[in-house]
């Protein structure tokens, strides 16, 4: 079943066509890699899929519903969430607070109940705390729950951002270079965790990676973009031997 599809989406910045008629079809529970050299347009594709940019042309359907012109938070509610290439955490808040903010829609009390701290407030906050701690535990981050995000080691910050993205209970999770800046050990561990959460939460994962080898290990399907266009699509083995891909990565 298709959860997310994009048809001919195009993004122009002035005269520059950053993404040119890009197509995408993600089935439920797939783990798909989106790779391509620097400036290929990967992040721009994410920005269109998550409502940060409105495509110049094209259509995007999330669970058969058009999300063109919907705001990012509306798209989150419809079931797609993401992380950012340059980590965007709430730096002066603790790790667990970061997660709780994305858990917002599942906390059920109104402002007056919150300000007067009614029983409902305490119950819901307790539930939120427990659920968010569970998410942190998946990433082995329980001990960091009360650490300010800005004081976390780099690798933990990356993981926290994924935990936060999961807190909104997405159907599709989009990760923009989640392993950037990690050492090989951390990277291998993270890839395993991504594999694990895909199965545990039964979600679809779209993963941007710069490094081709890295995604080969865990993705079932890989899409390669260059200069805003899809140049290849297929299983890791097909991609590995594709002459266009080799050219894009090594240069002519």
């Amino acid at each position: 079943m298709t959860v997310l599809s994009a048809k001919n989406i195009t993004m122009q910045f002035g005269g520059l066509t950053a993404v040119d008629q890009f197509n995408l079809e993600l089935s439920s529970n797939e783990l798909v890699g989106l790779i391509g050299p620097n400036g290929a347009g990967k992040t721009t594709i994410f920005n269109m899929l998550t409502g940060v940019y409105v495509p110049t042309m094209g259509e995007i359907l999330l669970n058969d519903q058009s999300i063109i012109k919907k705001t990012p938070h509306e798209i989150v509610k419809l079931g797609a969430s993401r992380t950012f290439q340059n980590i965007r955490l709430f730096k002066d808040l603790t790790a667990v607070e970061n997660v709780k903010i994305a858990y917002h829609n599942f906390i059920d009390y109104n402002m007056v109940q919150g300000m007067f701290r009614t029983k409902k407030f305490w119950e819901e906050e307790k539930k939120a705390q427990e659920e968010c701690m569970k998410l942190l535990d998946i990433f082995d981050m329980g001990e960091y729950a009360d650490t300010l995000a800005k004081n976390l080691p780099y690798g933990q910050q990356r993981k926290l951002e994924i935990a936060r993205a999961l807190a909104s209970d997405p159907k599709v999770l989009m990760l923009d270079e989640p392993a950037a800046g990690m050492n090989p050990n951390e990277t291998a561990e993270l890839m395993e965790t991504i594999h694990f959460i895909r199965n545990k939460f039964d979600i679809t994962v779209l993963l941007i990676e710069h490094d081709m080898k890295l995604v080969m290990g865990i993705c079932e399907r890989i899409i390669v973009v260059d200069y805003g266009k899809t140049i290849a699509e297929g299983t890791p083995d097909e991609i590995k031997n594709n002459p266009d891909v080799i050219r894009a990565y090594l240069g002519d």
């Binding site: 998550t50 409502g51 940060v52 705001t71 990012p72 938070h73 989150v76 509610k77 969430s81 993401r82 950012f84 965007r88 955490l89 709430f90 730096k91 002066d92 808040l93 603790t94 607070e97 709780k100 903010i101 994305a102 917002h104 829609n105 906390i107 009390y109 402002m111 919150g114 300000m115 007067f116 701290r117 407030f121 305490w122 819901e124 906050e125 939120a128 009360d146 936060r164 993205a165 807190a167 909104s168």
Partner: protein, 335 residues
């Protein structure tokens, strides 16, 4: 509520009551003359103003330089309301009239906050600052020219309903409500916008809605502060609510620490009491403000408390355990 939270509530409740009793005794025994009681009342009103401004400036992280405008709306609306009520001859107790007037002042100001916030919150930073200044100037000029509330000559004959006792408890209640707001899901949503608006949207927060909410709430409490002011002074003149007054409030919040309510309280006390004590240097007050700001920007740009709260509970515990006191300042749940 776990055991520690209960303890924190208890300690703070005891401290609040104890402080009240001190003032109560001082006032009853006339050890504190009317002049000092007046300063104490004005200090409470400034605490309300600073804390409410902190919702926008501290929690939301936006520059709002028109807080006096909302205060003016609350003051005039509540005064007009109480005057009409008293003229109507309804035999209501004074406290009831005051509470109703506060609600009216708060709601009218809150509605204006909503109306002004909705279109202007698309702007950011300096631009929003300029628009809020413009708005509060419009309010001031409106009241100068508005006959029914006395125009430039001012509104006279407001019944004095505020005394130290009721303003103290109103301040405590508002402090509690704004504090709990900051630690509720709504408060977290507002704070997340300050931290990173794009990430906040990506986390599913309807940021526009929460910005307007923060703006309206700040205006609401500013309106309540205005109502207290009107029913304490029993006289309102538009010139009081000028640009410099908004700046004064902003300075208080910045000095205490953007986002720290205890910081706002302490800095409101210092910046209200100090100029009174230095009455003879009254002309230099704004100069002193500027100096204080400059000194602070050099030595402690995040304000006295930064974004953290002073925690009485943690402070007492650290005294008992002779731990480093500095660690307790900035403890999470301050209550």
């Amino acid at each position: 509520m776990d055991h520690n939270k209960k303890k924190a509530y208890l300690i703070n409740a005891v401290a609040v009551v104890a402080l009240y009793l001190v003032f109560f005794v001082l006032i009853q025994t006339k050890s504190m003359n009317n002049y000092f009681v007046g300063i104490a009342i004005m200090t409470c009103i400034m605490i309300i103003m600073a804390m409410s401004l902190n919702i926008v400036a501290g929690f939301l992280g936006e520059m709002a330089l028109g807080h006096a405008g909302f205060m003016a709306i609350g003051a005039y609306a509540s005064a007009s309301f109480s005057m009409a009520l008293i003229d109507g001859g309804l035999p209501l107790p004074h406290l009831v009239i005051l509470i109703l007037a506060m609600i009216v002042g708060g709601i009218v100001a809150g509605v204006f906050g909503f109306l002004i916030g909705t279109p202007t919150l698309r702007l950011r930073g300096d631009y929003l600052g300029i628009v809020t200044i413009g708005f509060s100037e419009i309010i001031r000029i409106f009241f100068i020219n508005f006959g029914p509330t006395g125009g430039a000559a001012g509104l006279k004959g407001i019944t004095k309903l505020v005394n130290f006792h009721n303003v103290y408890w109103v301040t405590i209640v508002i402090a509690f409500l704004i504090f709990t707001l900051g630690r509720s899901k709504q408060g977290r949503a507002i704070i997340s916008i300050r931290e990173d608006e794009i990430a906040s949207e990506a986390a599913g927060i309807p940021t526009t809605r929460y910005k307007v909410l923060a703006f309206s709430l700040a205006a609401f409490f500013a309106g309540v502060g205005g109502a207290m002011y009107a029913h304490y002074q029993s006289f309102l003149e538009p010139s009081k609510f000028g640009f410099m007054f908004s700046i004064e409030m902003f300075v208080i919040v910045v000095l205490g620490g953007l986002g720290s309510l205890t910081g706002s309280i302490i800095s409101a006390i210092v910046l209200t009491v100090l100029p009174e004590m230095l009455r003879s240097f009254a002309e230099y007050r704004l100069l002193v403000y500027s100096l204080v700001l400059i000194i602070m920007m050099i030595f402690r740009p995040q304000g006295i408390f930064g974004r953290s709260e002073f925690s009485l509970t943690a402070f007492i515990e650290s005294l008992i355990q002779r731990k480093n006191v500095k660690n307790s300042i900035g403890g999470g749940e301050a209550s």
